[in-house]
């Protein structure tokens, strides 16, 4: 039941050797494993805001992305808004999809599985009586999130692929954030 040993050549483009080396190094230096991710947000107008991501903290030092990333977020016209960007909840679905997809690639690399294509469709069911305050028994967030993966791989059985997807969920940050309670503190400076 041991993982198959992987050839040096990257099958899916994930540098698993580097990740495994990092894992070993961090076992000896747990403080360096403490990361803080950041985002800053500026209201534009109406329900439109623009968020930026550049710096983060990890491996014991301040880090930053190569460029600053910018995200316009808004509500759609049927919400009487301008639809300048995707909604916040759609960003959450994007976060979940990308985290799971990256995980599939990394686990596939580690298991010597060569991926040809990986596509995911996501659906988040939401009763907006919650956010509109119409019915207090209805929650604000998603009642249900469904993720459907379509994965084509060169050398993997259906069971192998199911195992890939299961392992990706097991190690996914966003899956954990969305499926488990997370502490949030909001202060006014």
């Amino acid at each position: 039941m041991a993982e198959k040993k992987v050839e040096k050549k990257l099958k899916n483009g994930v540098n698993v050797d580097a990740l495994l080396a990092a894992r070993e190094a961090l076992k000896q230096a747990p403080q360096a494993a403490k990361f803080t991710w950041r985002a800053s947000c500026k209201w534009q107008t109406g329900t439109h805001s623009r968020s930026k991501v550049k710096g983060f903290h990890g491996l014991g030092a301040e880090q930053k992305h190569k460029t600053e990333f910018s995200f316009d977020v808004d509500h759609p016209e049927i919400f009487a808004s301008e639809d300048i960007g995707a909604t916040p909840v759609e960003y959450v679905l994007v976060g979940l999809a990308s985290c799971l997809t990256a995980g599939v690639a990394a686990v596939a690399e580690n298991r010597g599985i060569k991926l040809r294509s990986v596509e995911a469709q996501l659906e988040g069911a939401m009763d907006i009586q919650g956010i509109l305050g119409i019915d207090s028994d209805v929650r604000n967030g998603f009642d249900d999130i469904k993720v459907t993966f379509k994965i084509d791989a060169e050398n993997a059985s259906k069971k192998d692929i199911q195992a890939l997807v299961a392992q990706s969920q097991k190690r996914s940050a966003v899956y954990d954030i969305v499926s488990n309670p997370t502490n949030i503190t909001v202060v006014v400076a």
């Binding site: 039941m1 041991a2 069971k159 199911q162 969920q169 097991k170 969305v178 499926s179 488990n180």
Partner: protein, 410 residues
């Protein structure tokens, strides 16, 4: 030797074979933990045929049966007598310190100087209960796997069992049969059928060699050592005790207990994937058994390969439970055990409270060894039948160490 459980006694027997002078210190009576720290209805997960220690084995009429606790105590105590193990009972160790040439072991009955110490106190000295237990409302009674004895001990009303290991599954089943409402919070778990192709599944583990897999051949050893015990029970009917059995009996399955907030228990929404992971892992193991039978030409000895119904996902699994509403009057924490090394004054315990050892050879402490810990040297290390091979390896190393130390002194 610290601890007269089956592992300590097995090692003692091997030491005696090599005429290595030793003493076995036991805080209570032989097989103390089996006498004092297990619930009433508990039976071994392994069948009597797998009750084997160096030079001793079950020889009764029911090799397929599973021993109840009094029978286990009798078996181990019988072993201590048969091997004339040098046990000093009612002799708790209060400290072990490193001194020149070996160790000083302090007990309530005086001090012992020795060249070598084998820690056989086991991995289950205390219940491991998550920190969020502190947020449980006072109206809800809490029990652990160490203090639970039987359903009558709990107040009437619903029970939340946290953890779906062997303990959690067995207690959820027992409490459900006592007529209570039972909610089982399921985290990572190991699913196994009791019988496979007509044989006990743990027979397959041993025969196929899975149990013999060495610690230095395992990719993620830390994870393997922390695996929850498989969802098995030892009954005369050889019943399978998996989540499908439990939900068919009316046990309500919910996700892993993630938090307790304002008296509400919050469960993970990731239950479905945990079922998938356990089902996939079980299928991989059964594939391994089938491959072993096939490649050894033994297919004819067994029934045909079987695969089992996937774990059924509940229609609606609540994400929270109000612990203040009265529906739940007790919580049973089946959240594992941890060893206790407060008496060990040698710096060999890591920040998580575990011994730092390489296959039972404690690191940076010449002459200090451990036996009877999860996957100490093999996957079977903590099972009764796993004690002998580990004991022989450890004693071989220890004997070599004593020889070397003697030569260095000479």
């Amino acid at each position: 030797m610290i601890g007269a459980g089956h592992a300590g006694l097995a090692t003692s027997r091997v030491l005696a074979e090599r005429s290595i002078e030793h003493v076995v210190l036991e805080r209570g009576e032989v097989a103390n933990s089996w006498r004092r720290e297990r619930w009433d209805s508990l039976h071994l997960l392994t069948s009597n045929a797998q009750a084997r220690l160096p030079g001793y084995r079950y020889d009764g009429a029911d090799p397929g049966g599973y021993m109840a606790m009094p029978e286990v105590v009798a078996f181990i105590a019988g072993y201590a007598a048969a091997t004339s193990a040098p046990v000093r009972a009612q002799t708790a160790v209060t400290s072990v310190t490193a001194v020149d040439g070996g160790y000083r072991v302090a007990t309530e009955a005086g001090e012992i100087a020795c060249r070598s110490v084998v820690i056989a106190s086991g991995a289950c000295n205390a219940a491991h209960v998550p920190a969020l237990r502190a947020a449980v409302p006072e109206s809800v009674a809490c029990f652990t796997a160490l203090d639970y004895r039987n359903p009558a001990q709990l107040p009437g009303g619903g029970v939340l069992v946290v953890g779906a290991s062997a303990t959690g599954a067995q207690l959820a089943d027992e409490l459900r049969r006592s007529g209570r409402r039972v909610v089982l919070a399921v985290g990572e778990h190991v699913r196994l059928p009791r019988m496979y192709r007509g044989r006990d599944v743990l027979w397959w583990m041993e025969a196929s060699g899975v149990w013999n897999q060495r610690y230095d051949e395992i990719d993620d050893l830390t994870r393997a050592r922390r695996l929850p015990s498989p969802q098995l029970v030892g009954t005369p009917e050889h019943a399978t005790l998996d989540l499908n059995t439990l939900s068919a009996a009316g046990v309500e399955l919910v996700g892993r207990l993630s938090a307790i907030r304002d008296g509400r228990a919050l469960f993970s929404g990731g239950l479905r994937n945990l079922f998938a992971l356990a089902d996939l892992k079980m299928d991989r193991l059964l594939d391994t058994f089938d491959e072993w039978a096939r490649s050894g030409g033994r297919d004819g000895e067994f029934g045909p390969p079987e695969r089992f119904e996937p774990t059924r996902v509940p229609e609606r699994s609540p994400l929270e439970l109000d612990l203040r509403s009265g529906g739940i009057s007790s919580i049973v924490w089946a959240t594992g055990f941890r060893p206790e090394y407060g008496w060990l004054r040698v710096p060999v315990v890591d920040h998580k409270g575990h011994l730092r050892h390489d296959g039972g050879v404690v690191e940076n402490a010449p002459g200090l060894y451990a036996i009877g810990l999860p996957v100490l040297r093999r996957r079977k290390s903590t099972f009764i039948v796993g004690a002998e091979d580990d004991a022989r390896d450890i004693v071989a190393h220890l004997a070599g160490y004593l020889d070397g130390a003697a030569k260095a002194k000479a």
